[in-house]
């Protein structure tokens, strides 16, 4: 059993078309005072017509170059809920596009906002089970292709983007200076699901929409977060013996400023955990984007991760991070 793994943030990319949210609201409003403040995003990023979840995932994977890790990868976990093909999933296509070894374990995960926490645990479990030594984890989505700009329940919130990380049981040789390796020991994990509430946030097949249509009842999702977060964090504390006040840094899914503020209150933190005002809700990449931004900061940290969304589901983990 591997108690800890090495984590290498490879890259984080956004869709190629930025859009000003205030202009979006002016065009499709009116909206009431305070709307922009409560949703929180000043800019969202749409993918171009030639961009897909696969192309964004590949862009993120090679952002730091690939020669230094390609031969090490023997597992791929790809997270998306907006793949262009129903089958095969993006993991196989990533293997081909990057020229990775044929002898490789590939896994496609249909998940959204909780994708990173869930897929990280899957990757670690693959490593613990001897199925892989080094896993390429990609998270990528093109949610802006799931709705019209006029659908203001969702259009001011979601951005297209992708992130990629390596998760390995070994310390990889010669990473570039742009990539800071971190050692992670998972102290606790917690996952709650309410599939009966699936209809409150879902992508449904729809004629004329290749990737489907996103529908969201924001109130229901918010209710779910409010009633579930204490159960999730209590379990984290029970498993780890750690008091949440000891967590040095929280990474929270950036659904909107409103929901992040509610999570801040539930966690009892004074830090501003809303970090994505300038790029939007990038779905499964929401936590990795924050990791990517922080990777050159202090390394010895107790990290907390919380994500919630499509399911409805909430996932959390506590991680002890060191640099060696």
């Amino acid at each position: 059993m591997t108690d800890s793994v090495w984590v290498y943030p490879l890259g984080a990319v956004l869709g190629g078309q930025p859009a000003d949210v205030a202009e979006l609201l002016t065009e499709h409003g009116p909206v009431r005072d305070g709307f922009l403040e409560r949703t929180g995003f000043s800019t969202i990023y749409r993918s171009r017509d030639d961009q897909s979840s696969l192309s964004l995932a590949l862009d993120a994977a090679v952002m730091s170059g690939s020669d230094w890790w390609k031969e090490q990868v023997d597992g791929i976990v790809s997270v998306t809920s907006t793949s262009e093909l129903i089958a095969p999933g993006n993991a196989h296509l990533i293997q081909a596009a990057l020229g990775l070894d044929r002898e490789i374990f590939t896994l496609d995960v249909n998940d959204a906002c909780t994708g990173f926490v869930r897929a990280f645990m899957v990757a670690k479990t693959l490593i613990n089970g001897g199925l892989a030594t080094t896993v390429l984890l990609t998270l990528a989505d093109t949610y802006t292709k799931l709705f019209e700009s006029s659908e203001l329940k969702v259009s001011p919130l979601f951005s297209d983007g992708a992130s990629a990380l390596l998760i390995s049981s070994i310390q990889l040789p010669d990473p570039p200076k742009s990539v800071e390796a971190r050692r992670w020991e998972v102290l606790a994990h917690s996952f709650l699901s309410e599939g009966a509430r699936a209809g409150e946030l879902q992508i449904r097949r729809e004629s004329g929409r290749d990737l489907g249509h996103l529908g969201m009842n924001g109130g229901a999702v918010f209710n779910f977060v409010l009633r579930s977060i204490n159960a999730c964090t209590s379990r984290l504390m029970e498993q780890s013996g750690v008091d949440l006040a000891e967590v040095d840094r929280w990474y929270v899914h950036q659904g909107s400023r409103a929901v992040v503020s509610a999570v801040e209150k539930a966690l009892g933190v004074s830090d501003d955990l809303f970090r994505s005002a300038e790029y939007g809700n990038v779905v499964g990449s929401s936590l990795p984007f924050q990791l990517h931004a922080d990777q050159h900061e202090r390394s010895d940290y107790l990290l907390g991760f919380l994500a919630f969304g499509v399911g409805l589901t909430i996932g959390g983990m506590l991680v002890k991070q060191t640099s060696d």
Partner: protein, 74 residues
């Protein structure tokens, strides 16, 4: 909690009484709902967010009916 206290809670959640009137007396949008849900959670705890009917409400009459039926309102 009684009806008057609920109105005060909602007014507080939605920015207070202004020259435009009491927020508790108008129709609410989705962002208003989030504010109210958060204040209800502060007041009553996690259990109130288990109430399915609170996934959709637009005005005081609807909210009061639900809360009364669930025993949160006198």
């Amino acid at each position: 909690m009684n009806d008057a206290s609920l109105k005060d809670l909602i007014d507080s959640a939605l920015g207070g009484v202004t020259t435009a009137g009491r927020p508790s007396e108008r129709t609410w949008d989705s962002l208003d709902q989030l504010e109210i849900l958060e204040h209800l959670n502060d007041e009553f705890g996690d259990g109130v967010n288990e109430v399915e009917a609170l996934n959709n409400f637009e005005n005081l009459a609807e909210l009061s009916t639900v809360l009364r039926a669930e025993g949160y309102l006198d």
